[in-house]
Assembly symmetry: C2
Homo-oligomer: 159 residues x 2
Amino acid sequence: MQRTRFGDMACSIARTLDVIGEPWSPLILRNVFVGINRFDQIQQSLGISRKVLAERLKWLAESGIVEQRRYSDHPPRFEYALTGRGLELCDLLLVMVRWGDRWLAGEPGPPVLYRHRACGQISHVELHCSVCDQPMHAGDIDVLPGPGAEAPPPNVDVA
Amino acid sequence: MQRTRFGDMACSIARTLDVIGEPWSPLILRNVFVGINRFDQIQQSLGISRKVLAERLKWLAESGIVEQRRYSDHPPRFEYALTGRGLELCDLLLVMVRWGDRWLAGEPGPPVLYRHRACGQISHVELHCSVCDQPMHAGDIDVLPGPGAEAPPPNVDVA
DNA sequence: TAAGATAGTTCCTTCGGGGAACTCACTGGC
DNA sequence: GCCAGTGAGTTCCCCGAAGGAACTATCTTA
């Protein structure tokens, strides 16, 4: 966890970073997404310190990204599952994958492929405008102040 | 900078995190994107430590995300500009904004609005499939091993 | 000549990550 | 009954990275 908290800034990037900006968090999210969702599985898969993993899972649970589910009672055993907003956050991972595939995969090509269930094809994500449906990229936009500009940090309900 | 480097993992998420996963990096990118692109401007705007800012800018330049441009010769003065891949990386910021606006903006609403130049409307990004053009989200995909799976880390040319 | 702007660098302190060992609760095998 | 094994963490120590303030260097303007 970085020393300076970002959650109080009037910036949705900073607030999002406050939730998953710490080292390891996006990789933990990725693992839960693909079904590696128990403590020891995640730990071994990533090679992360158990201490840091415990901290991150706690924070992701408090932030409403994952939830702990008990799959055995008598030896109490847990697994982690994505919430709705957690699954939406995985969209962010798809965009990271796209950029990494394009610029960092090099000669061997992408390590992982994604098949879109709707069409059955191997593909990747593209960004479109929610209004006109045309492609929309960072270079195609103007930035304007919104209603929440300079507002005090909202009290977000996690549930 | 986190202690464990992610760049060697066979995972485009980890590799992307290696470039902009450190605390502050996405916010620095955001500032350069909106035109806050000189050292002192960025430092004051973010309240970041000058030491950390210098380290991050150096790393982002080495990674080919930004480039240092001299805008005055006699007192040597520099500003930072996005490269092509840097601008593409800003697409990631748009998705972070979308998620943060949706889940963390609360009552005051989004702090910043984005106008799509092509249609002139305030909008946000949506993810579509590059093949069939239909919406594509994390819940709509299957994950398959790709050609670069388990490959040694590629030697990426930064230029 | 002094003040101001720009772009860093250096130094010190403190906090967070890494890693290994330890705990605790239960289970299944002999 | 006893012992090893599993799952899910917790505790401990060390070291490196973040914060923050002060310092440097160069040139311009008053």
